[in-house]
């Protein structure tokens, strides 16, 4: 009963311990970089105020990019796909049942014919 051996798929090998070691090394490097930062940094002072070309900084809550604005480009890019797929999700219970009957019917034809 080995705990720390690599996982073999028959085609390749995956050793999670190597990855863990890599993550630890990465974290150490990140910590060293952080540590070499400006030591005089003070939170919530003029140092941390963003410069917006001289404009006043809007309230923090208003600059947060909300979920509805994310991946707009992706959904717009495959708009044609979504225009076909989303309307299928009607939310009508009888439609849900109809899909089950359709699948059963198609399956029956496939199983009987093939």
């Amino acid at each position: 009963m080995a705990f720390a051996t690599s996982l073999s798929s028959g085609f390749g090998i995956w050793d999670p311990l190597l990855w863990v070691i890599a993550i630890i090394i990465g974290l150490v490097i990140a910590w060293l970089l952080w540590r070499s930062g400006v030591s005089s940094y003070k939170k919530d002072t003029e140092q941390t105020r963003p410069y917006l070309s001289g404009n006043a900084e809007p309230p923090k809550g208003e600059v947060h990019i909300r979920a509805g604005n994310l991946y707009w480009g992706f959904t717009e890019g495959i708009k044609g796909y979504y225009q076909r797929i989303v309307p299928l999700h009607t939310g009508i219970a009888t439609d849900y049942l109809l899909w089950i009957f359709w699948v059963a019917g198609i399956l029956l034809v496939i199983v009987m014919v093939v």
């Binding site: 009963m1 720390a4 309230p59 509805g68 979504y82 999700h89 049942l97 199983v111």
Partner: protein, 524 residues
Amino acid sequence: MIPGYITTNAPALLIAVPLLGAFLSPLIGKISRDARALWVLAVMTLTALIGYLVAFLVYTEGTLLYVFGATNATLAVPPDSGGIPIRIIFTLDAMSALMVTIAVTVGFAVILYSLSSDSRRSGLEAYYTIFLLMIGAILGMVSTGDLFNFFVFLEISSLASAGLVAYKVEKGRAVEAGLKYLLVSTIGGIFFLFAIGILYGQYNALNMAMLADMIQWTPLDKLALVLVVAALAAKCGAVPMHFWTPDAYSMAPSAVTAMLVVASQASLYGLFRICFTLYGITLNYATIGWVIIILGILSMIIGVTMAIPQKDIKRLMAYHAVSQTGYMLLGVGVGLAVLGDQALLNSYGMTAMEGGIFHIFNHAMYKGLLFLTAGAIIYQVGTSDLNRMGGLGHRMKWTMIFFIIGALAIAGIPPFNGFASKFLIYESVFAFSPLLSIIAMVVSILTLASFVKVFHSVFMGPPLPGNEQVREAPRTMLIGMTILAAIVIISGVFPEFFVQNLIAPAAHALTDQAGYISAVLGGA
């Protein structure tokens, strides 16, 4: 160490304890809320211990039989029955044991979480009764070796789940979701019952081993299989029968949603059990295998692409649950497609099945964890609308950490467990069809993109107006999440241990139809 009568009767206790606990729960609740909470926790702890005992016995001693009503619990075929196993028989092999392990582990974490997350609600006496009934029904589904008994537990699970989905009411929206779930479950149940009738009419038996020994792939057998596949694929949320999933998963209390994932997986188990154990190589395995693969691919693609534009955190996660079910269908479907070709089965079929089955285990853990984190967020913020969340990472650090663990796992990022199972699926499915493997990888990338969106929307940025009073989730909720997060990490860092000791035996149990039959009928 453990009394013999407990080990002998463990399969029966596995069902009896949650059922007894369920019906006594309202009475205990009359004493006080704390007494009921303690009672429910004690019942679930005992159920979990019995579940682990059953799994241990199966993995160490082989297939476990329990014959209800017999003088000897392992006497499947009485001498005067004409060679027919006439009683209800629980037949627990390694696949069943794995499902029992999943159900009791998630059940325990979820009950613990639920003690806080649902403490503000009314009607808790019904809530815990139905919750324990649901857990008992799931355990029954994965333990029984009798088709009609499976149907009974499927119905109990469906009714209990529908009741829990509708539990919050939510101005009628939760009730509507519960009704939809009930309708789909009822049609699935009727399909399944028809299939049982067809098989019973032909073979005069309900025991799966007995049926497997006699089945011939007649046109009626084909019709029965079609009905079973349609019913159980709908119950596990495979596209295009997945429409109930976002409704039910998003409206149920989060603890219930985590358990609904396991209930769906119990249906998936039923699908695999009937395809492999009942029909085996008598069916047209290449055709049925491809049918399951196509259902899996559709589920993966449509699930993830529908998840991306969602603005409700639980609805988004529900679509991802559909998508992840696709991986399980793909992995096990590839195994089924090459079931009759021993060389291909050895070359990549078994690995694909191991990947699919490992993904069932992993998905139950990380998806359960993600739904629990969503529940903790909703519990504190009071909304499931992602557009009204932001900056919660400042105040809900532990929940954020658990979310990161779950999100990285579902996206297949190493070293979490989702990667280990996807690794097996990618590599083995590539040997079967490179295109399918590439689709699986692309879906993983889209999954990561979707969860990056959730992470940014919920945890990043400044605390939004109205969220200033948000605090970390209560301790018992955090403990529930910790249990699942720990399993996600451990099974990701030590995947070989899980594959060798839990997953590979389960995959072999599914393909070993002769072994299953002889375990039940061997003494006939």
